[in-house]
């Protein structure tokens, strides 16, 4: 009985002291609703790292990993808008400023205030957003939804379709993280 209690205590302490959580199969989706059509892309190979002690949060996104239903959309996305041969990655490097109010040892939904530098298309901007951290069984799931203006990141819309394509893009983030071994 004593041994079982000791083992449970060790297990509980190991779980509660996990500091770094990561995934390489996080999801980032985007939607741009324009007058011509809705442009949607999805990337399920997003790398994300959260250090719950330091509060640091990192994302690395391979631009060519966005997949589309239509071939032409994918080509235009990579060649005309994101120039993915020239700028193959997007990234976010920042922190969760209220990390102390998120208890990784207790299941629940927590609001996360996030600040950091978002780099898209070779342009880096300071951003501030809120998201959710859903803790279940000692593992966090990060969720966030925000918009970015294409012009802020130097992404030009060709003149012929300028008025028919949305100037802002809605982005959804969903990353289920595992404790790093």
């Amino acid at each position: 009985m004593k041994q079982l209690f000791f083992s449970l205590c060790v297990l509980a302490s190991l779980q509660s002291t996990a500091q770094r959580y990561m995934t390489k199969t996080g999801t980032v989706d985007f939607v741009a609703t324009g007058a011509i059509e809705k442009i949607e892309g999805s990337n399920k190979s997003v790398a994300c790292l959260l250090d719950s002690k330091a509060g640091s949060l990192d994302f690395i996104i391979q631009i060519k990993s966005f997949v589309f239903e239509k071939q032409l959309m994918q080509e235009h996305f990579n060649e005309n808008y994101m120039e993915s041969d020239k700028f193959p990655k997007a990234s976010f490097k920042g922190s969760v400023t209220n990390m102390t109010s998120i208890n990784m040892a207790k299941d629940g939904d927590y609001t996360a205030d996030v600040v950091g530098k978002l780099m898209i298309h070779g342009v880096t901007k300071d951003v501030k957003s809120t998201g959710k951290v859903i803790v279940k069984g000692g593992k966090p799931v990060l969720k966030s939804a925000f918009s970015v203006l294409l012009a802020d990141y130097g992404i030009e819309i060709p003149g012929a379709v300028k008025d028919k394509i949305s100037k802002d893009v809605k982005i959804n983030v969903h990353c289920a993280l595992d404790a790093m071994k």
Binding site: M22, K24, T25, K44, I60, K64, S65, V67
Partner: protein
């Protein structure tokens, strides 16, 4: 039939063909690579070694169809997608394969620890220097290599 009517009919036919062609071009589904032969086949170790020894060689594989033989480290599923991570317990480096939605059903049995050969279009790679995530190679539009 008068010449004017003939001309009108020809123009109408050409216009209809052009519209159908344009519609098909714009709405063409993304390529399905499941029946195409890969440019090259690697073991997990062979291709991961390139992330530290031969990044220029690896860069030449971007946008190419490659097949990788490896062991499944993790399977991530949701209602619309399956993503397979190839790797092993000795390294945090891994290959992320986004399964083509048209081949979800044939990949529904995949599980951790299973040896597989997966082919997909290489989307890129990341050499990790500071985060401790290990190096990563990404493949898109993946399917199981049958051969």
């Amino acid at each position: 039939m008068g010449n004017k009517l003939k001309f009108t009919l020809v123009m109408l036919t050409v216009s209809i063909i052009a519209v159908i062609g344009a519609w098909k071009y714009v709405n063409k589904a993304s390529n399905d690579f499941s029946e195409e032969a890969p440019k090259a086949t690697y073991t997990f170790k062979e291709i991961m070694d390139k992330t530290s020894n031969d990044t220029s060689g690896l860069s030449r594989l971007v946008d190419e169809l490659v097949a990788v033989k490896g062991v499944i480290k993790k399977v991530t599923k949701d209602s619309t997608s399956t993503t397979v991570e190839l790797g092993d317990s000795n390294t945090s480096s891994s290959i992320i394969c986004q399964i083509d939605s048209r081949h979800q059903a044939s990949c529904s049995f995949l599980k951790e620890g299973q040896p597989v050969c997966i082919k997909g279009k290489m989307a890129g790679f990341n050499v990790d220097l500071d985060l401790g995530l290990g190096n990563t190679i990404q493949l898109n539009y993946c399917s199981l290599e049958k051969k």
